[in-house]
């Protein structure tokens, strides 16, 4: 027993993260997974409108870099960043209210589900135009430099989004001015139905950093501890004014592009192979090894989170949509009210 504990301690040391960090990462990872699976189910039951983009399978790529950020640090997300929303601390009820587009959502039901954002928590609600928030986040980093603040910005995007011109312009600018930003590419091998091999003639999108004069690195995106460490180092570096990093996280989405996509463009064995690399069970295996988790503890945790989620869903579903007149608000500042039309 004592020997075992010593062993755990040493592997804990090896991993180079505090127990608190490890448990924090795991807690957010698990919460993200359970929330995501729940939302998938609710969508399939027709409980909310629009569509749903699941991030199941790639949660480590968002939870890992986000964990430990300050509120004033800014995230420019894309459409699979539920993990960033959870980890940066947007309350569950707000996340779910946004998905359900209810009156109690801070966006009043105007944004699309999965376009998670929060001013208070420093996440820019995405527009759907891919890599759009990469450009905006770079602009935030530019502002931090002008303001001489040591905040950082984090931009998330899929490998597909790196084909966009605006992405290039943003990274080029960040390189020139050594901006405090970290770029996280979630290479999940597919952009909707298009394989990464038709997205670029290079295997690793981290290589694109060479064109911008800052380092790029490709890592196992399903190892949450590794992702966190590499990202935390890059973030620390950025905070010190030493410039951007592009981190390519190799990962995989388990399900379709959105919940209406059967994803039959992918081979089943590819899916199976990647399911074996599940970031959640991998984290759990480590925690078991470290002696930080037991099956009972895990089940208790799952139950507690599920209850939280369930309670939040019930709270949200009881709230109606905004009244139609809400459509007229938030177009401009109060100086310029929109003209009402009557027929």
């Amino acid at each position: 027993m004592a020997g075992n504990q010593a062993n755990n301690k040493s592997s804990l040391k090896q991993i180079g993260l505090s127990e608190e960090t490890i448990m924090g990462l795991y807690g957010n990872l698990l919460k993200t997974r359970l929330l995501d699976e729940k939302l998938r189910k609710l969508f399939r039951q027709g409980r909310f409108a629009g569509t749903y983009f699941s991030a199941v399978g790639q949660e480590a790529t968002t939870v890992g870099p986000t964990y430990g950020l300050r509120d004033e640090d800014i995230i420019g997300p894309s459409h699979r960043e539920i993990g960033a929303a959870v980890t940066k601390g947007i309350p569950l009820v707000e996340i779910i209210a946004q998905v359900f587009a209810r009156r109690n959502s801070p966006d009043k039901g105007k944004s699309h589900p999965c376009h998670y954002g929060s001013r208070k928590k420093g996440i820019i609600h995405p527009s759907s135009t891919l890599a759009g928030q990469t450009v905006l986040a770079t602009g935030c980093a530019m502002a931090f430099k002008i303001q001489k603040k040591d905040n950082v910005a984090l931009a998330f995007f899929g490998e597909g989004a790196t084909s966009r011109g605006g992405w290039h312009e943003a990274l080029n600018f960040a390189g020139i001015h050594k901006l405090p930003i970290v770029y996280i590419c979630q290479n999940n091998l597919w952009a909707e139905s298009v394989p990464a091999t038709l997205q670029a003639a290079i295997e690793h999108f981290a290589d694109r950093a060479k064109a911008y004069g800052f380092p790029g690195v490709t890592i196992d995106g399903n190892d949450i501890f590794l992702v966190h460490k590499i990202a935390a180092d890059a973030i620390a570096k950025a905070r010190k004014g030493e410039g951007p990093t592009l981190i390519e996280c190799m990962t995989y989405r388990w399900y379709g592009h959105s919940e209406i996509d059967p994803a039959n463009y992918r081979r089943q064995d590819e899916v199976e192979e990647w399911r074996k690399k599940d970031p959640v069970s991998r984290a759990e295996k480590s925690l078991f090894d470290f002696g930080l988790l037991t099956n009972e503890k895990r089940e208790a945790l799952v139950e507690q989170i599920d209850q939280e989620i369930e309670a939040a869903v019930q709270e949200v579903e009881a709230v109606p949509y905004s009244e139609p007149e809400e459509a007229y608000r938030d177009v401009y500042s109060d100086n310029f009210p929109v003209r009402r039309v009557e027929y």
Partner: protein
């Protein structure tokens, strides 16, 4: 004759034109193996190969700009913009290159290209999967802008576009893809660019519309006729160059007109139609030229009641028509 949906009409137009002319090819996101996010290109990569049905990277600048280049050297590209919301990155290529290359070269280079753009609301798409943005192209000389409302027109206009020698922005309304059907002839046919369709003759008032709004207007007419109002209904079909003659003739006859547009009101296509009517056939008007349009807020907010509130519908059209009739 075959009963055909709006989207099947589009697919078959592409298939037939590709079979007819090997310079026709397609490029866009997810259009190959996947057959397009709405399945408009279903089966075409199997039939015509990967060289002629190209799955592009997420590069709207290149999808359009590369197509223009190909058009210059003998091809007839049919690029797809997956959602009209994502046409903004291509504006530079459409406006500065496609629309002007014939002009700036004194006619030396031409750009026979048809950009298919999936557009429109009432599908729960929210701010980034509901846009149209037709007014930007409508204001650009050098472009042809089409928006069919029926399967027959979708097929016939798409064929005319592909065979023509001008750059075309071809708007397909996603709400119509599977909601309307029509019997189409088996033999080859085209619909002429630049001609509006008088869908219904009438004598009390003219309604002008296009795309989904044509169908909303049809719905409105049912109720209006019950009240004894005889409506002449025009579907513009071609937005640029728009068919002034047909519209003017109709308004000269009825002396009253309501213009229906899905997009926000200010600066929309119907502003031009309204202004031109007032400018050119002023004396024939017995009542103000009246527009029924989307709200002047970003098109369009996501939550269902907000989306509904944004969009014109039969009820709003009926009210507007009655007001104009009672004027």
């Amino acid at each position: 004759m075959k009963t055909t949906t709006y989207i099947e009409a589009i697919t078959s137009a592409m298939a037939e034109e590709m079979a007819r002319d090997e310079s026709v090819f397609l490029i866009g996101e997810d259009i190959g193996l996947y057959g397009g996010v709405f399945k408009a290109t279903k089966g075409l990569q199997d039939k015509f190969g990967k060289d002629r049905v190209i799955d592009s990277p997420i590069s709207e600048v290149y999808i359009v700009g590369g197509s223009i280049g190909a058009a210059l050297v003998g091809m007839r590209p049919v690029p797809e913009i997956q959602f009209a919301d994502f046409i903004t990155p291509s504006m530079d290529q459409i406006i500065q290159q496609a629309a002007k290359i014939r002009y700036r070269t004194g006619g030396q280079w031409t750009c026979p290209m048809t950009i298919r753009v999936c557009c429109g609301g009432e599908v729960g798409g929210g701010l980034y999967h509901s846009q149209i943005n037709e007014q930007w192209f409508f204001s650009q000389p050098g472009l042809i802008v089409l928006m069919p409302a029926t399967p027959y027109d979708a097929k016939g206009l798409l064929k005319s576009a592909i065979r023509g020698d001008d750059p075309v922005i071809f708007f397909e309304h996603k709400r119509l893809y599977r909601s309307i059907k029509e019997d189409l002839p088996d033999e080859d046919f085209t619909v002429p660019i630049g001609k509006a369709a008088i869908r219904k003759e009438g004598k009390d008032i003219t309604i002008v519309s296009y795309g989904l709004m044509y169908h909303k207007s049809l719905e409105a007419i049912e109720s209006l006729e019950k009240d004894g109002i005889s409506v002449e209904l025009i579907d513009m079909r071609t937005l640029l160059p728009w068919d002034r003659e047909t519209i003017f003739e109709s308004v000269k006859k009825t002396s009253r007109v309501v213009l229906v547009q899905e997009n926000s009101k200010t600066g929309g296509v119907m502003a031009e139609v309204g202004a031109a009517i007032s400018e050119e056939i002023f004396d024939y008007l017995d009542a103000p030229v009246t527009r029924v349009c989307g709200l002047d807020v970003p098109m369009l907010p996501f939550a269902p009641p907000l989306e509904h509130f944004f969009l014109p519908n039969a009820e709003k059209i009926v009210k507007a028509v009655k007001k104009v009739i009672d004027y």
